[in-house]
Amino acid sequence: MAHLPLQDDIEALADSLSANADALHARLMRAIRKPAPGTPPGLPGISHGVAQALFENEVALRQRANGLYLDAAVLAATGLGGHQQRILDLTVRAKEKIEKIDRVKALVDIAAVLLTLGAAVASGKPEQIIKPLENLKHQIEDM
């Protein structure tokens, strides 16, 4: 939903307001730098009050443009709820898979203990079976 025509229109309008503000600023700076007829060089070409009033217009244009950029941004970010939810679901499912894989690891741990147990039995030293047996008990309890 990121490219609604309305969103593009709003952004284009804001772009043109910004461009107008740029033009106004260039014009204003030219007026300030150009000495007015009859004034000594080095002094601004227009009065401070006029400069401030013109700049105020420029600021208002830019604020209007930024308001429209915000509107466009809100439009771009809406309608994403469904997508966000799907991404979230996927992430949860992946975590479940990872957990399942970790249980495979637990299974392998158990197998390792079983193997030790088998070796202890084969060695004919029953007193050494107790530790592997204890380990196995813990492994199963942990699952």
Binding site: A2, S18, V59, Y69, A72, L80, L90, A111, A112, A122
Partner: protein, 256 residues
């Protein structure tokens, strides 16, 4: 007796079913996932956008301040949604990376544990070569069983994630572009105020003011230039993430 022991080992080996598996495919997915920290730039630039008013405020006239306050309230409202846009994608990338992880199916530790367990019992008649044979078999099995399992899980996630992730990345790219444009206007308001006011400062009577204003002009110019570059960098990173996601998704084999 010896034969039965060997059978025991082989049975367990079949049970274990695998160790390390790293294919070019999973390596590419991990490489993609490793880019997820780059999305932090989106978060940071969103927060900068949300704090626009704070930076502009000292440079605004009372009337402009009033307008900006209203804009700020609307901006703050929207920022709650903007700021968390990337978190879903970031979690998705990280989960995908874990799923494709090198260690995920790496059972070498377990195989070592078994080896250690066996060696601790020198009287059993189990020799090193039995242990080695066991490990080799486990690795062989991993190729047959574990690797397709892992790749399937990764492919499922990529297949289901392709569209929603693309949509959200697209929206993030749009927002970054709009932040950038909004930042340009903020820059022109701040620097424009200095630029239009400095010529009217009496250089003789207000030397200090003039010096401070010019120094502020320099540092603000540098700040805005720097952030301009960061918006571009963040957008390029986002594009790179989207490209590699699309490439990975396009290489998913058709389900059998």
């Amino acid at each position: 007796m010896k034969m039965s022991r060997l059978l025991l080992i082989l049975c367990l080996a079949a049970l274990l079913g695998g160790c390390a598996s790293s294919t070019p495919r999973t390596a590419a997915v991990r490489e993609f996932a490793a880019q997820s920290p780059k999305l932090n730039a989106y978060h940071e630039l969103t927060e900068r956008y949300c704090a626009t008013y704070q930076r502009e405020q000292p440079f605004l006239s009372p009337a402009a301040d009033q307008r900006e306050k209203e804009l700020d309230a609307r901006r703050k409202d929207a920022c709650g949604d903007f700021v968390k846009l990337h978190s879903g994608v970031q979690a998705y990338m990280q989960a995908l990376g874990t799923l494709a992880g090198d260690e995920q199916y790496d059972l070498n530790d377990q195989i070592k544990a078994i080896g250690g367990g066996i060696k601790a019992w020198p009287d059993t008649g189990l020799l090193d070569r039995h242990v080695n044979a066991f490990a080799g078999l486990a690795r062989l099995l991993s190729r047959a069983i574990t690797r397709p399992l892992q790749e399937n899980a990764v492919n499922d996630m990529l297949r289901d994630g392709e569209q929603p992730v693309r949509e959200v990345l697209d929206a993030m790219r749009t927002l970054l572009r709009l932040y950038d444009k909004s930042n340009d206007n903020e820059r022109d308001i701040v620097l424009g105020m200095l630029e239009t006011e400095i010529p009217f400062v009496d250089a003789e009577r207000n030397r200090l003011l003039l010096a401070l204003a010019k120094s502020q002009q320099q540092s603000k110019t540098a700040e805005y230039r720097l952030f301009g570059l960061r918006y571009t960098l963040a957008r390029n990173n986002l594009d790179a993430i989207e490209r590699s996601h699309r490439a990975l998704a396009s290489q998913i084999p058709q389900p059998k």
